[in-house]
Each structure stands twice: as C-alpha cells, then as structure tokens.
C-alpha cells in the first residue's frame, strides 16, 4: 500500500450554488505538480469569499437606480448596516424612497422608522413604494426609535430603514453600543438595516457608509410665475466599506415630479457618471 504523503493536504469541497454545482479544490500548499484541469479550479480563500458574496447577492435586496447599481452591483447585502449620510436637500430621502420602492416592488415587506415624522405617503407612492408592504413607525425620540428598530428587525422584515430626519436629531447621536447592538441584531436576523442621518452617528458599527452631497438644483423658466424646479443633482460617495476600498462616487439626478410635468422623467444614462476606476473598486467590495 502506498504511503500517504501528509505534506500536501487538499480538501475537496462540493459547493452547491443556486445555479450549478462546482467542485472546488484548495490546498494548504501549492502542489508540485497538479493536472492543469485541476489546477485551474484551485482557489484561494479570498476567491471563495468573493464567490460567496456574489452568491449571496442573489438573495440581496435589489436597487433600481442606475447610480445605486453602480455603487451596489449585487444589491444591498443582508446582515449589513448601511449608513446614508447627507445634508438637507442632498437627495438622501429620495434614495431612501427609491430603496423602499425597489424592495417592495419585488414583494419584500419593509419598515420605515420615521423619527422626524416626515414621511409623505403621496411622495412615496410616486416613487413606486407599495404602501401596503410598508410598515411605518413614528417614534418621538431617538431612544424609542432605536428600540422600535430593534423590534422591527426581529419581526422578520427584510429591510429596516431608520430615518433620523433633519438636524437637530431629537435625542442626540445615540450610544455607540446601541448601533453595535443593532448591527448584531441585523446579522442575527439577516436583515438589511439602513440608517439615514444628516451626519455620521453609527460610528464603527456601520459596515457601509454612503455620503450624499448636494450639487445644484435645476430650474426652468424666467420669472417666479413660470419658474419650475426640474431636478436636483447630487453626488454619492462611498465613504466606507468594511473590508474593501472606499472613495468611489457617482452622480445622481433626481427629477421633480410636479403633476403636469410628466415628460422626461426617466433618468438617462448620461445623468449618471462614474469613472471606471471607482466602479472597479466597488465591484471588488
């Protein structure tokens, strides 16, 4: 009987994906001589993690804005705490509406914890949010908002959005331990938690931070009586991604929906500009 050489230990992992079934082989050391066909299927642990995140992306919450698709090509991963930061009129709330609309349109039930009590059902319905799939919570202070968010996470809803409104946030920034606790809850229950805030509040608990910066508003017309607000342009920057490069940015144009002015509402691809380098960085994330 041939003696087993323990210097090369290989594990054969049968990985059952959603679409196919692959055999992945990885080893402790590079083998001195492996058949080329087998060597091609050798992957590092990093490769496996990337593949895993890709596979998980199939279960991720979808996004339906081209600019967001650039930032999150696989959608919003579950078990993450995404912090969306932006000043007044920077398009932050519009992004929240867009994410709620995308999630509800595919049949997911979502929660909006609205600390400022600023949610407008009419505006949300225009943004294609299916209101019957939206649970709207209206806490009066940050403490109640955090408790409601934690309770909502345990309820099994796939996307929980905590909107802290406009500054000043009633109740301050909240304790760092509270945000860590929410992150742990989100991971336990595989929920995507989105915190929309005028300034950074989550600290180290946020796994992804997106900052929205107001660029300029576009008006049409000459004098006040026939002047119309047509669009607001803002820039989204990926401020932080845990375990990946940050700094990627895209431009976003948000159109003003004013009843009779219904033409030209679809966003053209030209409105979204992003450099190839930043896109690659996001893909790696």
């Amino acid at each position: 009987m041939q003696r087993l050489d323990l210097r090369f230990i290989y594990a054969i992992l049968v990985y059952s994906g959603a679409s196919d079934c692959r055999h992945w082989v990885f080893g402790v050391m590079s083998p001195p001589a492996l058949p080329h066909s087998l060597h091609r299927q050798l992957h590092t642990a990093r490769d496996l993690l990337e593949r895993r995140s890709t596979q998980e992306g199939e279960e991720a919450l979808p996004v339906n804005l081209p600019a967001l698709e650039k930032l999150f090509p696989h959608g919003l991963l579950r078990s993450e705490l995404l912090e969306l930061v932006g000043t007044c009129s920077s398009g932050r709330f519009s992004l929240v509406m867009s994410l709620l609309g995308a999630a509800t349109s595919v049949g997911e039930a979502v929660t909006l914890v609205d600390l400022g009590d600023q949610f407008d059902p009419q505006s949300a319905a225009s943004a294609d949010v299916l209101l019957e799939r939206l649970l709207w919570l209206r806490p009066t202070d940050l403490r109640a908002a955090l408790a409601a968010t934690e309770t909502a996470i345990t309820g099994g809803l796939s996307l929980v959005v905590l909107d802290l409104g406009t500054p000043p946030i009633p109740g301050g920034r909240g304790a760092q331990s509270s945000w860590q606790r929410l992150l742990q809850k989100a991971r336990t229950h595989r929920v995507t938690l989105l915190v929309s805030s005028p300034y950074r509040v989550c600290g180290a608990a946020a796994t992804i931070v997106v900052e929205t910066v107001r660029q300029r508003a576009k008006w049409q017309g000459r004098n006040a009586s026939n002047l119309l607000l047509r669009a607001v342009r803002s820039r989204m920057t990926l401020g932080k991604v845990r375990g990946a490069m940050s700094g990627a940015n895209v431009e976003l144009t948000l159109r003003y929906d004013q009843g009779a002015v219904q033409e030209d509402l679809a966003i053209s691809d030209e409105a979204v500009s992003s450099s190839d380098t930043t896109t690659r960085a996001i893909d790696a994330a």
Binding site: A102, A103, G107, Q118, S123, G155, T166, Y256
Partner: protein, 516 residues
C-alpha cells in the same frame, strides 16, 4: 351486536377535580403548594375551613374546623378566603382543556365536567384505549395545575361515582353500570331529603336494593323525582349530555387578600394571570385580539380598560407591556382589591409560504412584533400609510399593517424614475418672510427666518436665491375652516430647497416641506 350496544349506549368521562376551591387557589398561587394552606368560607367566627393542603391535613386541619381552631393546630397556617374569581377561571380552564379532546362537554358542578368520548378511543393505543384516554386527560389537566380524577361509564352517575374511586382512571364496562352501582350506599344518588327519609323508612340502604323495586311502584309513590332517581339507580340517564356553547372570551383573575396601591405588585400578579391566559389561547390555536381589564377598587368601584391589539397575539410579555403602559397612562386612582382579565380571541393570521418567491413573513412573528411596537410607540404610531383624500400635502391615513403575500417567483424591480422626494413637516413651522412689497401685490419671498429655529436647525433661514410660485390651493371652502394657501418652491442661498406657503386667511407664512 357489539356495534348496536355501542350506538345505543353513550360513553361518558367524568372529570372531577377534588377539593376544587383549593386547587383553584393553588393554580393562581402555585408558590403555596407546599405550604400549610387552608381555604375558608365565611367571616369572623363563622369562618370555616372547607379545604386544606396535605401539609395542613397532616397537622390535623380538617374541613369544618373554624379558622381559630385551625390556627391553634398550625400556627403558621396560611389562610385564604374562598375566591369565586379564581374558581371561575379554573373551571373555565378545566373545560377548555377537556374541550380540546372533544367539543361535546357538559358543565357539571364545581370542578366537574362530563365529556362525550364516543369515537375517541381510536386515537389511543393499548389494551384499554379508554383508560389511556383518561390518563391523557389527567396529564393535560395536571400541566394546567389542576389535579383531577377521571371515571368512565355509560351514564353520568356511573362516571361520577367511578371518578371518586381509586385507582384513577376507573372504567365501568358497557352495560355493567347497574352492577357497578348496586353495592353503593343510597347517598351516592344524592336524593332529596323527603325521598331519602321515605326510602330509609322502607329499609332501603343501597342503590341495588332501590333499583330492584319495580319502576311503576316507585313512580306511583314518589312521583317524577322518584322515577328519575330510580332510573339513575338502574344506570339510565334520562337527561342526555348537553354540550356547552363556546364562551365569547377567555377570562382570568383573582381577588386580592389586601389592596395594592402601586403598579409593580399588580403587574407581578397580572403577569402570571396573562401567562395562564396565553397558554389557554395557545391550546385553542387562538390569539388575543382585544384585552379587557377590570380592576375592583377599594372601597367599591371599578376601573375598566379595553386594549385593542393591532394583530392577534398570544405573547404574554407583549400583553403585559400593553397593560403596564395603559395603566401608567390611565391610573385607577384607588387601591386595587381584585382584577379580571378577559381576552377576546381571534384566529391568528395564516399565510401560504412561497417556494421560489421572497420569504413570506411568519404571521405569528409579525403579530408579536406589531403588538410590541404598539406597546412601545403607542396607538396611531404603528401601521401602514395610505394617501388621504384631499389636496393638503400633510394629510395621510394609517391602516393596519397586513402585507399581501409575496409573488410566487422572485422578479427584478422596475427601473426607478428617480424622483425627488419631499419631507413633510408636521406641524408646519411658521416663518417670518420678507417680500418686495408689503401691500400684497408681490408676495415673492426674498428672505425668511423660522420663528422656531430649534426645529429646523441653526443654519435654516437666510436669503432666498430662487423662488417659484405661487401655486394656489383651496380646499373645504364650504366648511367653517377653509384652507386657502399660496405655495412657493424656494432655494435658499445655502442650497436648501423648501416648500413654503402663505395662508391667505391669516397672511402668515409656513414651511411644510423640505425637498431632499
């Protein structure tokens, strides 16, 4: 022949809880189980012991002793007055558990129920399935804190007598009821006093001797009451089993030994009552849709509250939180001497899970979550938003959150239109606005300042860079409070985009929206 006998003869199980007042009290206060406890009836020197725990009985406490006599025997005797509320809820709990075996249950006297067990024997294995059924009944009731005995026979009297015998469950074979009852003393039939005296004069001492007298002779001498008694002695039931109607609500409660002034001790007692209530609801596959709380106050009076839940739940912790929040908001204002909790049940939501679509919400989990959120945030702050009729942008309605089931197959979302959303300020914040002309001919805002800057932040206000408008809004002109507004979209020098309006009735300016 066997089938004919089975069809002709009903099979009844008598479930009897001995020392029922004691068992009911121990169910409400299980921590007293190993104490020397006596239940008494009456006041002052007329107070008599009617039941006692084993520890008290071993010390010589017997039913009929006065309370001072019992205390003389056991100085550390725990005495509790008979509590009708406890007994009522214990009786309800007993009936509900028995009804989980078959819906045909007749209410007997205190702690006694009759169950029609025809056909139930097939569910139980063993040489004598009816005995197995009896054991299962005893175990189920024991879990609820009600020690019971079971007798099975073809008539109520036979079952009741069998329930009083050892070992339990006692089975009387079909057709043997007369022979089973025959040697028993006549007192087992509980005859009326007049009839008992007559039969004693006749020299009849046992049920068998009474049954051997011809029925016609008994009927002619003792009337209808004697005829019914004679039929019972022969093992016949003249009155068939009458199943009880399902109750509208589930009830728990107790009378307190001393009045409670603060909330925490009451919540401690209420939590155990709610746990029992939720267990009973759970046994029936129901949830609490509405909780009615009735507090008896000192010296007399009631404090009644009704808590409607957003979704049926049987989570005791959630119900307790709701009770606490409600009582904190609506204090009874007097010491509490007793309480009753009534749960109005409803079927919990059900859902069909999808194989390929997004994961559906667990109805039970969602119901519990909604109830907790309701308890946390209060009424009117949890729900699903809806657009309201009318033109005022701040208007909305809220409905119960009942998401439709997800689609069968997961799909990709449609491309969004990328619309600018607006944050609605509720209530609108009043502004001080400068316009080019004060005479009202040109109301275009040139600068503004919020009268409550703490609500909009320190940087709010200043010079207006662009102003577009006005758009007029008029609503409810036929009412006493019509709405007439001039709306403007403005861009501040800081870049903030606001939606403001001028109230044409009061000529005051407000900001009611932020484009974000």
């Amino acid at each position: 022949m066997q089938l004919d006998r089975l069809l002709a003869k009903p099979r009844l199980a008598c479930i009897c809880c001995p020392l029922f007042p004691l068992a009911a009290r121990l169910r409400s206060e299980p921590e007293l189980l190993h104490e020397a406890l006596a239940i008494f009836e009456g006041n002052g020197h007329n107070a008599r012991v009617i039941a006692a725990t084993r520890a008290a009985r071993q010390a010589g406490v017997r039913p009929g002793l006065s309370l001072p006599q019992a205390r003389a025997l056991v100085p550390k005797l725990v005495a509790r007055a008979r509590d009708e509320e406890c007994e009522h809820t214990a009786q309800e709990a007993l009936l509900e558990i028995v009804e989980s075996f078959s819906p045909r249950v007749e209410v007997g006297s205190e702690g006694i129920a009759y169950l029609d067990i025809r056909g139930l024997g097939r569910r139980f294995r063993g040489p004598t399935p009816e005995v197995e059924l009896g054991k299962t009944l005893i175990h189920a009731l024991d879990r609820e804190g009600l020690p019971t005995r079971v007798g099975i026979a073809s008539n109520k009297l036979g079952a009741l007598v069998a329930a009083g015998l050892y070992p339990t469950p006692t089975l009387v074979p079909i057709g043997d009821e007369e022979a089973f009852l025959s040697p028993l003393p006549l007192e087992r039939l509980s005859p009326q006093l007049g009839i008992a005296a007559t039969l004693k004069r006749w020299g009849i001492g046992s049920i068998g001797e009474f049954a051997r007298i011809p029925a016609a002779e008994i009927s002619s001498r003792l009337g209808d009451a004697g005829r019914d008694l004679h039929a019972s002695a022969r093992g016949l039931d003249l009155h068939p089993l009458v199943p009880r109607a399902a109750p509208a609500g589930f009830r728990e409660g107790m009378n307190l030994e001393w009045p409670l002034v603060t909330l925490e001790p009451f919540l401690f007692l209420a939590s155990t009552a709610l746990e029992r209530l939720c267990r009973r609801l759970d046994n029936r596959g129901l949830g609490c849709a509405k909780l009615e709380l009735s507090l008896r106050l000192e010296p007399d009076g009631f404090h009644e509250r009704s808590i409607t839940l957003p979704s049926p739940t049987h989570d005791a912790r959630t119900l307790l939180t709701l009770v606490r929040l409600d009582l904190e908001e609506h204090s009874p204002g007097a010491p509490v001497t007793g309480f009753t909790l009534v749960a109005i049940p409803d079927r919990p939501r059900s859902a069909q899970l999808s194989l390929l679509g997004p994961a559906a919400l667990s109805p039970e989990k969602l119901a519990t979550t909604l109830a907790r959120l309701f308890a946390l945030l209060g009424p009117g702050r949890v729900g699903s938003p809806r657009k309201a009729e009318g033109h005022r942008p701040e208007r909305f309605t809220m409905t119960e959150f009942q998401p439709p089931p997800p689609p069968d197959i997961r799909s990709r979302p449609a491309r969004a239109r990328g619309l600018l959303a607006v944050r609605v300020l509720r209530p609108a914040i009043e502004l001080e606005v400068e316009t080019p002309k004060q005479d009202g001919t040109n109301n275009e805002p040139t600068s503004l300042r919020p009268l409550e800057p703490q609500k909009l932040g320190k940087r709010a206000g200043g010079a207006v860079r662009v102003a577009a408008g006005p758009w007029e809004l008029e609503e409810g002109w036929w009412t006493e409070a019509p709405v007439r507004r001039e709306y403007w979209d403005i861009e501040m020098r800081s870049g903030d985009l606001y939606r403001i309006y001028r109230d044409r009735s009061s000529h005051r300016w407000f900001i009611d929206g932020i484009y974000d």
